[in-house]
């Protein structure tokens, strides 16, 4: 089991604001790793830094044993990291299928058909709606589309930022089921969640982030049982 991603002591600033204060963690092949923490803890910032949209002042990020901390954002996707940003960023005016096609922008031509088939297999709801304008999809469907689009580039590592945000409980269950399925099919997943309970139930390992630092780490089970986590994030 090799290491896919290693984050070493990164420090990220927004101007004078020191948002990430020396975070280190790693993700192994085939795992679901989750980052949990309160609002504003720095979870999204961490994902943005990995995908190259933000830069770390110090430290290093290695993906498949290669440093990517100075790689341009648009090249990181073709290296095999796909980022589904917070808040369902889809192309509202395009159809479902066009959105998925855009996700394959950096993908080799001969893989596109295969990937599209795979995405429709994982998300049958999208398949029923191939030519629907994406902006008219329901919230849950939009989240599925954003995830499906990210899968179109054949990622080695899929980073999901709060996929359950604003969804009804039944949809949350569905999304998490899909996440587990994707993982079983071989995709390594780095999951950021507010819904700590759900996240910990599917995660192999978890890290708790508090105001820019990692305060706790362990397996999903360990953290779900830990008193600190229960008090702070699981409601007692």
């Amino acid at each position: 089991m090799g290491t896919v991603l290693t984050v070493k002591n990164i420090n990220v600033y927004y101007g004078a604001i020191h948002a990430i204060k020396g975070i280190s963690f790693d993700v192994n092949r085939g795992e679901i790793v989750t980052l949990i923490g309160a609002n504003g803890a720095g979870k999204s910032t961490t994902l943005h830094t990995i995908s190259g949209l933000l830069r770390s002042k110090t430290g290093d990020i290695e993906f498949l044993e290669e440093s990517i901390s100075h790689t341009a954002a648009h090249k990181i996707v073709s290296k095999g990291i796909s980022h589904v940003p917070e808040g369902r960023r889809i192309f509202q005016g395009m159809t479902v299928e066009e959105n998925l096609q855009m996700g394959a922008f950096v993908t080799k031509q001969d893989r596109i058909a295969h990937n599209l088939e795979y995405v429709y297999e994982q998300f049958p709801r999208l398949k029923e709606r191939t030519s629907q304008i994406a902006g008219t999809l329901s919230g849950g469907e939009q989240q599925m589309l954003a995830m499906g689009r990210a899968l179109m580039s054949d990622p080695e590592l899929l980073m999901l930022d709060e996929p359950s945000m604003g969804l009804a409980p039944i949809l949350v269950d569905q999304i998490f089921e899909i996440i587990e399925n994707l993982n079983k099919a071989g995709t390594t997943i780095l999951l950021v969640e507010q819904n700590a309970q759900m996240a910990l139930s599917v995660a192999d390992r978890a890290y708790v982030i508090e105001t820019g630092r990692i305060s706790l780490s362990g397996t999903g089970e360990e953290l779900a049982k830990s008193d600190e986590v229960r008090k702070a994030y699981l409601g007692g």
């Binding site: 005016g93 031509q109 058909a113 088939e117």
Partner: protein
């Protein structure tokens, strides 16, 4: 089942490139080219039968120029979604470099079509270079800031033209000076004289060249819009963060739209420059940039054939209103305001559409669904 998979595969393997050139592209292309050809025939007929007066005939080339400018600006404003207020600057670069090229070429050859084409290409190249140099630092900016900076650059270009001096010596060699007149060159051999501008240009622009330029511009813009690159540019406009997350190089595609747009504006500028024996840099001021933007906004941001019509009508109108003499500009402004209200105020627009549907003899069954239009604000 096997059928379904096969079908899926065919969609996938056709890939982005062909999938995007669907019906919508064909529809937009046929309407745009149709309007250009019909407009050309109507205006030519009008001129041949004497229905269109001499003054208005003089506007034929400018109409083509403004149509190309509007279509090319639509690439930035409509398709890339950035507000640019410096389009006249690129037009100026194309005009003056085209004029210099023309005079140099005419000193050595007399085959006008070749002179025309080479001058236009040169104008396009120079404008593209200007677009590239300006584009690199400013495309990190967004919205209003980009608008202000393009405005400033447009003015800088025009003022730069004010201090350029070009001329031909007795052997037909090009002479250049910056900020002072060139000694020892007779008046007739001067090409560009600072703020006085270009003089002695041989006017080789014709309506036919204008039509060709319009067709070429529409061809480039429509194909770009419907290419893989065009998809990327529109995806960035629709949702920059999503576009970044799927691995699009945002700056590259924004720059691409900006440079192509500048090059096309340079070509149009060249046609414009070769239409007048004298041309002052002042012609390419902020007002001209705004005028082109007005064509785009009135024609519909992102709508190619709409801005062809808007540019044509709004170039003809001031000429047609000549009879109102003193009230000419007032009438023009009122027409502008009315068109804006009728197109962008939803209530009034619905009423106008309803009336139009009642009197429209070519009414389709079921009726078209209302066209979605973006306002300039959204695009910025």
């Amino acid at each position: 089942m096997a059928d379904r998979i096969l079908n899926l595969k065919s969609i996938g393997s056709r890939g982005l490139k062909n999938a995007v050139k669907g019906n919508e592209y064909r529809r937009e292309a046929s309407i745009s080219y149709g309007i250009l050809i019909i407009g050309y025939i109507l205006l030519s007929l009008g001129a041949a039968t004497g229905l269109i007066g001499h003054n208005l005939q003089g506007q034929f080339v400018p109409i083509c120029v403004y149509v190309s400018l509007a279509v090319s600006l639509n690439l930035v404003v409509g398709i890339s979604g950035e507000l640019s207020l410096g389009h006249a600057g690129f037009m100026a670069v194309g005009a003056f470099s085209g004029i210099v090229m023309e005079r140099m070429l005419l000193a050595h050859m007399s085959f006008e079509p070749a002179v025309m084409i080479l001058s236009m290409l040169f104008g396009a190249c120079m404008a593209a270079i200007a677009g590239f140099i300006i584009g690199i630092p400013i495309l990190g900016l967004r919205g209003d800031y980009l608008a202000i900076v393009t405005l400033a650059f447009g003015e800088i270009i025009r003022n730069f033209m004010n201090v350029l001096y070009f001329g031909l010596d007795e052997n037909g060699h090009l002479k250049f000076a910056f900020n002072h007149t060139i000694e020892g060159i007779e008046n007739s051999q001067r090409i560009i004289t600072g703020a006085i501008g270009a003089t002695g240009t041989k006017t080789i622009s014709t309506f036919n060249w204008g039509l060709l330029l319009c067709i070429f511009t529409v061809f480039v813009v429509l194909n770009m819009k419907n290419s893989k690159q065009g998809r990327a540019i529109m995806a960035i406009r629709d949702n920059r963060i999503a576009a970044e997350s799927i691995g699009l190089d945002v700056r590259k595609y924004k720059l691409m739209a900006f440079v192509v747009s500048a090059a096309l504006a340079g070509m149009a500028g060249c046609l414009f420059g070769l239409n007048y024996s004298t041309l002052v840099p002042l012609k390419f001021n902020f007002n001209t940039s705004v005028l082109i933007l007005v064509f785009v906004v009135l024609g519909g941001v992102g709508n190619i054939w709409g801005c062809i019509i808007a540019a044509t009508v709004l170039t003809i109108l001031p000429e047609a209103f000549r009879q109102f003499a003193d009230y000419r500009m007032l009438t023009y402004a009122i027409v502008l305001i009315l068109v804006m209200i009728c197109t962008y105020n939803p209530t009034i627009k619905a009423r106008v559409t309803a009336i139009w549907n009642r009197i429209n003899p070519f009414k389709k069954k079921g009726g078209d669904k209302p066209k979605k239009k973006k306002t300039g604000k959204e695009a910025a």
